[in-house]
Amino acid sequence: MISYLILGVISVVQARKYLRRNTYTDYLNILQSPEAPSVSILAPAYNEEATIIENIRSLLSVRYPNYEVIVVNDGSRDRSLTKLIEEYQLEPVNFAVNYKIETKKVKNVYKSKDPAYNNLVVVDKENGGKSDALNAALNVSTGDYTLNIDVDCILEEDCLLKLMKPFLEETDKNMIATGGVVRIANNCRIEKGRIVEVNVPNKLLAQFQTLEYLRSFLLGRVAWGSLDGLLLISGALGVFQKQLVIQCGGYDNETIGEDMELTVRMRRYAREKGIDYVVGFVPDPLCWTEVPESWSVLRRQRNRWTRGAVETLLSHKRLFLNPFYGKIGMVSYPYWLLFEWLAPLIEAFGIVLLVLFSLLGVINISFLYLFIALIYGYTVAFTIATLYIEEITFFQYKKRRQLLRLVIAGLIEPLMFHPFVVYCAVTGNWDYFFEGKKAWGSMKRVGFSRPTDRGKRITGGGKGKKNKPNPAAPLPSNNVRTRPAT
């Protein structure tokens, strides 16, 4: 708990420093510079026919002088590829794929007949999962840096400029990767692929996630980022030095949390090779994504996250308190272990004990109540502190009413949301260790269906897990995607 306090202070200082530094930064120079490093945007896609054209479109309008967009169709069973071919006038070309990393077979590589899209490359391959698709994209890429994005994220148009800046500003060490921040897009007004207005989500569940997200980001990531202790580059947004990624072996097909795993592995690799490296972090919100609004979808997501985290932690257990790995081994990894993995378990265990003891009369009931009240008060204070920090730094939620909503959500959260999260973590662990659900399980064949409501959002009904777009449902004809006012 005290650690959160320290991190909070560090975060504020760093966030202000960042904002000050960038008040007058003009990105126009690099935007037109022939010396801007080349970047490949890797966008794996599976069964995304409903939104793929729109998503790719926003990728192609990113502001950066020297980049390519590599879309990998991971054996979709729908019309994703056909739509792409039509929209962008694609034709297969004689691309010599460099199989630096083994992947499932690439069937074809397409480029557009239209010179306006000459930085678009579409790879069609057999289904192999998200990591496999990313690796295939790596094999085809020509840039020196790679940007991974989840296709359903909405990128700020300057995000690539902002993510590349740390690489270009670093003079002492070798910057191997930078990470950006993902924000919650539920209820934000989205027009033509851009966030026009930032709003607090309507549904309580999404509001809880907003708070959780803000806490972890403002009190965690910003601080860790400046201390260079970030263990996780948020999966949705990260720029990596391509050469290093390939030297590490690319993305791991076996894990669920492939982005976190890669980050940890890259750090280890760099350290083992004696590279004086650093990982950058850009606290600016650069990417927006929708969070689950239904408890069942959320449960699956959290379950997956827990299993992914456990898996990564275990496969890199060499780091634990190992001075050879410096900060990562001595501080970040143990912190992650304790607070992200063990904390929910300890908490669950503790609660069970407390209840047991009070029932057995070992502890005075009134003391138990008081204790609970203390924890509650503490959590609420923390949430308020987070909102305060958000006010004085990035100030995204401008309407007063929205702030109040968050405060109210903050009051309910410890009672409703937090226990649920702990429950998911516990079951996640159970599933991992005892049920052996190490891989994606049944999800693997289907692809990397993110348990979001994406399908629901598009078709206006039904669950989103397997993402079977309903061809009978009308697709949005205009471009304004306002959230349903449920």
């Binding site: 000050r20 530094r21 008040t23 007058y24 120079n29 690099i30 037109q32 510079s33 022939p34 010396e35 801007a36 490093p37 034709e91 070309v93 004689n94 691309f95 010599a96 794929v97 460099n98 630096k100 480029k111 007949k113 800046k165 690489f167 270009l168 500003e169 670093e170 003079t171 002492d172 009134s366 003391f367 008081l370 204790f371 009240a373 203390l374 509650y376 008060g377 503490y378 609420v380 204070a381 308020i384 502190a385 909102l387 305060y388 006010e391 004085i392 100030f395 007063r400 702030l403 405060v407």
Partner: protein, 373 residues
Amino acid sequence: MREFLIDIYYFLLALEPRYKIVIFLVIALLISAAIMISIVLRERSRKNSIEARERRIKRQVEPIIQEIVFTEQDASQFKDAIKKINRIVDSTLYRRSNMNILNELILYYHRNLGGEAFTRLENLYREIGLKQIALENLRNGEWHVRAKAINDLSTMRMGETLFEILQYTDAENMHVRNEAQYAAVKLGGKKAMSFLNDLESPMSEWQQIRLLDQSRKFEYELIDHIGPWLRSKNDTVVIFALILMRHLNQYHEREQLRKLLYHRNEKVQEKAIETAIELAYSECIENLYEVYELTKNLRVKTAVLKAMGELGGSKEAGHLREVLVSGKEYELVMAAAKGLKRMGRHDVLTGYRENELSEKGENIVKHVLDDRI
């Protein structure tokens, strides 16, 4: 009601200490939460009023600025306009903040409108006192205030402040330093760039990009300091000098360029080769063979092959063919094939005996010959 409260009070007093502590903490936490919320709300309204003020000022000042910029005005009209603006921004409490708003507005116009609009805006900037404010900030502010001040002064082309700015080109704070260097090039020209002669602090790529952008106005002019820069101990200065050579067509100092092909820093080597290509320095090709053998760095090797393709003749074509057939790393084979295509040697690219090329090589040749990629 009172009795109820008194009862509670005595009840609490009678508890064991540990309960008291816990209750105390709970109350303290809730109170601090409430305090923070109220602070937040207060901040909000403050921000709102600031924004409202900003909008108001912009709305009032904008037409006056537009008049100044777009119409021919004589001295008295100009004075009137200044008076009007002063009246709008003047305020006991908010003058500073208003001046900031005005500052941003003028800078914005300056970035977008050129020609005679420049001079008019610059006059405005001086007369209304913003230049003075910037200078004060430069002398007395924190790092970010100073950096912004320098940035503003260079954007508004306040050449008379150059001397003062030059003192900061090697400042301790990186941001101040970078802004000062940028201003030096923008306002001072080639002479002012002499700070590169002794620069010890490293120049980031970002800074190099910015300086290159400003240096464009020297294109085709002779930059005589490039020689010493190419020999600098500061590798970033060397790289920057190479970038200048390349993009600003500086054709002298080719001997030094040749020496740089053997530099111990591989990035410098790579940049040197790229520069040689750009300047069509074909005399260095013999050296390139040596460099190719000596280096283990894949990027340098690839750059060498590219250079051979751009600058070489049949001997180089032969070497490229060898690399192509050798079937080594993909990058090298690809570079060799591309080089041959660049030379126009399609005969070499297609004239192979059966099985002379590996499958990878054949794929690469097909790739290179496909014009659509």
